[in-house]
């Protein structure tokens, strides 16, 4: 991975993660026009981690609870690795189908992630949740 940032697991950190991703991806040849959907996928994953991997005690944010985002982009292909030290939690599970939306159930965000990204993978490695997401720009396909 060529670059990474680590921030507190909080909704307030999401814009910073997205700005970092956008900057790295565009430098690596992913068209800016496609970054709206790619950063949406990142936001959905991060939101899920904030809510589920790090359940907050009394609504407080623990500064020791962090998320690391590493990314590498080249020739229009973007690889993201998102690592947290929360409880075992697969943010990519329970995507369901579009029709689940009618029932108003969860999984809508992850459904979008799977629609946007070309490849998604979750692993529990030691005490870490590790997500890998691959996006290939339209021109690079």
């Amino acid at each position: 991975m060529s670059a990474s940032i680590e921030r507190t697991a909080s909704l307030d950190s999401i814009e910073e993660f997205k700005a970092f991703l956008k900057s790295e991806a565009v430098a690596g040849g992913v068209p800016e026009l496609e970054m709206g959907r790619v950063t949406l996928a990142l936001e959905e994953v991060l939101t899920s981690i904030v809510y589920h991997a790090y359940p907050k005690a009394d609504g407080r944010i623990n500064p020791r609870h962090t998320i690391q985002l590493a990314c590498k982009a080249k020739d229009g292909q973007l690889l993201m690795r998102i690592v947290d030290k929360g409880k075992p939690f697969n943010a990519l599970a329970d995507a369901g189908s579009g029709l689940d939306l009618l029932g108003g159930g969860g999984g809508m965000g992850i459904y979008l992630v799977r629609k946007i990204m070309d490849k998604v993978q979750y692993e529990r490695i030691g005490d870490f949740n590790v997500l890998r997401l691959l996006y290939t720009s339209k021109a690079a396909r």
């Binding site: 909704l11 709206g36 959905e44 939101t47 579009g98 029709l99 009618l102 809508m108 979008l112 629609k115």
Partner: protein, 111 residues
């Protein structure tokens, strides 16, 4: 996220601007449900200045659409920006919730 509503000829027009994400969609959802609980049966959402929506925002659109339908009313989303329309299309929302190209068209569809 800014949320404002006005009544015009029996139709409640709700203008939503800014971002609808995990941090802001709760307030949007509460505002919508308040209108529906107050008896609004025709609702046109003016999304011309809505810049961003995530799944958290989509869930609130869906919740409102279901609630108003359960009361015999209807809702239409109007003037979606390209990005918001892309998310509606990707999620399948465009086939669940009526979408109109303009507020005028949306108002007409509500009768």
């Amino acid at each position: 996220m800014d949320f404002a509503h006005r009544m015009e000829e029996g139709i409640c027009i709700v203008a939503v601007s800014g971002r609808l994400d995990a941090a802001t969609s709760g307030a949007f959802g509460a505002g919508m449900m308040q209108l529906i609980d107050d008896g609004v049966l025709k609702l046109a959402l003016d999304l011309a200045t809505l810049e961003y929506v995530s799944s958290a925002g989509l869930r609130e659109f869906l919740r409102a659409a279901k609630a108003i339908k359960a009361r015999g009313g209807s809702m239409v989303c109007c003037s979606l920006k390209d990005y918001v329309k892309e998310v509606f299309d990707m999620s399948g929302f465009s086939s669940i919730i009526p979408v109109s190209a303009s507020l005028e068209e949306g108002r007409s569809s509500l009768g």
